[in-house]
Amino acid sequence: MNLTLIDWLIMFVYFVFVLGIGFALKRYMKNSTDFFLAGRSLPAWVCGLAFISANLGAQEVIGMAASGAKYGIATSHFYWIGAIPAMVFVGVFMMPFYYGSRARSVPEYLSLRFDEKTRGLNAISFAAMTVFSSGISMYAMAKLIDVLHILDHPLAALGLPHSWTFHVSVILSGVIVLIYIFLGGLTSAIYNEVLQFFLIVAGFLPLVMLGLKNVGGWSGLKHDLPSNFTHSWQGMSNAHTNPLGVEWFGLVMGLGFVLSFGYWCTDFLVVQRAMAADSMSAARRTPLIAALPKMVFPLIVILPGMIAIVVPKMVTAANVTGTGTQISSTAPQGKGLIPVKVDPTTGKPMFNADGKPVLDYDLAMPNMLLHYCPTGLLGLGLTALLASFMSGMAGNVTAFNTVWTYDIYQSYIHKNASDEHYLWMGRMATVFGIILSMGAAYAATRFNNIMDFLQLVFAFVNAPLFATFLLGMFWKRTTGHAAFTGLLSGTAAAAIHQGLTLPEGAVAGIKGGWLGLVHVYPSDMAQNFWTAIWAWTTCFVVTILVSMVTRPREEKELVGLVYSLTEKPSEGHLPWYQRPAVLGVFVLSVALLLNIIFW
């Protein structure tokens, strides 16, 4: 691909601002609260946009477009069912305890509510997970830069071989994120996430508008796609009659309840953004404000994937000549702009067991950009893509440095040091967190299975978490021993369930079935959702049972940590549109409306 001076100029302007924000914030970083919690001083809208932007990593932008091309509008269940209700719940019901308890992190809340071992379990697994996620983000970004040949010309100009693309991408992205977080801490990460949020909208919205115009609007798209691609609930009564391969109960319980609440309500990566807010009411509004753009994001990230599979037919009609820049979109068996996947080792197209070509859906978004965007807008779109990779990385890095410093270092390694020492440790944690992520990115190039395996293990660890928080916050009888055993048995249940089942057409191994085969699910997704349901239920039941036979804590120790013992935050002084409950009802109504419109 040939980027022109204008495209590079746009990218350059963005990077100047990214780093400039870090430098501008440096002088405000006076103590550890400034660095790790942005001094608890940011307005709700800033925290709210950072709340979704931190989650809007590359996996989301590339992955959701890929799913859009693969499954159609049903992908929006990941938003309307799999995010919105949980975001409303965390804002209205859980934030009073996170923010009100003055805990500085999610694991710290667990130590206040339960005990040290529950905190340790959560802190260590979470810290490891953030490093690997950030590494995966780096790896995906380097891969994409390689596939799009973005760095070919600059590397050639410097006399370096093409194989350096990976090194340069990983090191450059790592160093940029390092500089701005090292200097400005969480504030810098949040400010950049807000910048990235607008950039992602600015980069992808024109693409959607051009694409829609090209295919004749929504009605044109509907005409060209099979009907279950434009109706999100069609065929959901049975796993075999819809593109996702999962039935409505598994979808609503597995995705909508267990996985979604487990992520949005307990993952410190997002909760940290709300903890940085300047008041209790701002903290509670953070996820609710985030929910508003989140609901319409399918328009920006899923729709391009759907347009990508119908485009070429329209292209001839609209008389757009291919300029040879899109990656093998003319490959014989591809679908629309989605090319056939090429085996990286042999360079030959890949076929599945039935002899059908495997499509490389991950190229839906990049190919759409190359197809529609002229020089200028192309630079903006690519910058937005790079921004999304970096916001995903930076979110993980700030969550890592906080959990490492407060929940591991301060709790178990060096207890009573000065605040300056912890601020220094936070900066050091940023450095080695990024070095570890780079290591993980390189590990992914060599042992792809190991990354899959780790992600699986983390899924096991995460699935039961929400049961622990739900009981901890809303049932004062829940004990620390119960929380700890509940989490461990939930994780074990997830592993056992996965080990006994397989998705259709898969072989025993990383996909499951390594303990034997009891049940075959129609799709990966159905298996994942049901693994989560089993893990959650086991954790919920075990925690209740163990709580009944262990001694609960004194009620006076639980004030501010448990619903029934905590004064409700007053909302009386707020205008109606700032009240969390009102906003929550509004958000849920719009989400319901969207489900009805795209039924």
């Binding site: 100029l9 601002f17 807000v194 009411s281 197809h371 002229p374």
Partner: protein, 86 residues
């Protein structure tokens, strides 16, 4: 935090908008074949310019208000909304 994020957002989008508008106005029109003949750089550049300008205007107004509030407050600290303590 001492820096209002609206200022850098406003500045960045104004600059990006300006780049796109200028390039759209004076660049080679042949490149718009792939965007169905629409000069998207010019159109979208203007949208970004307006957005950037609005952000800047709000950011500057916010800064003036904060400064005025700080002058009115003897402690020199900007007053915060009442927080619910538990």
């Amino acid at each position: 935090m001492g820096l209002d994020i609206r200022i850098p957002i406003g500045l960045m989008f104004s600059i990006l908008g300006l780049i796109l508008v200028l390039f759209g106005a004076f660049g080679n029109p042949a490149i718009y074949q792939r965007s169905m003949g629409i000069n998207v750089n010019l159109d979208w550049g203007m949208v970004l310019l307006v957005f950037g300008g609005l952000m800047l205007a709000y950011g500057i107004r916010g800064g003036r208000r904060a400064a005025a509030a700080a002058r009115g407050n003897t402690s020199g600290k900007q007053s915060r909304p009442h927080d619910t303590k538990n």
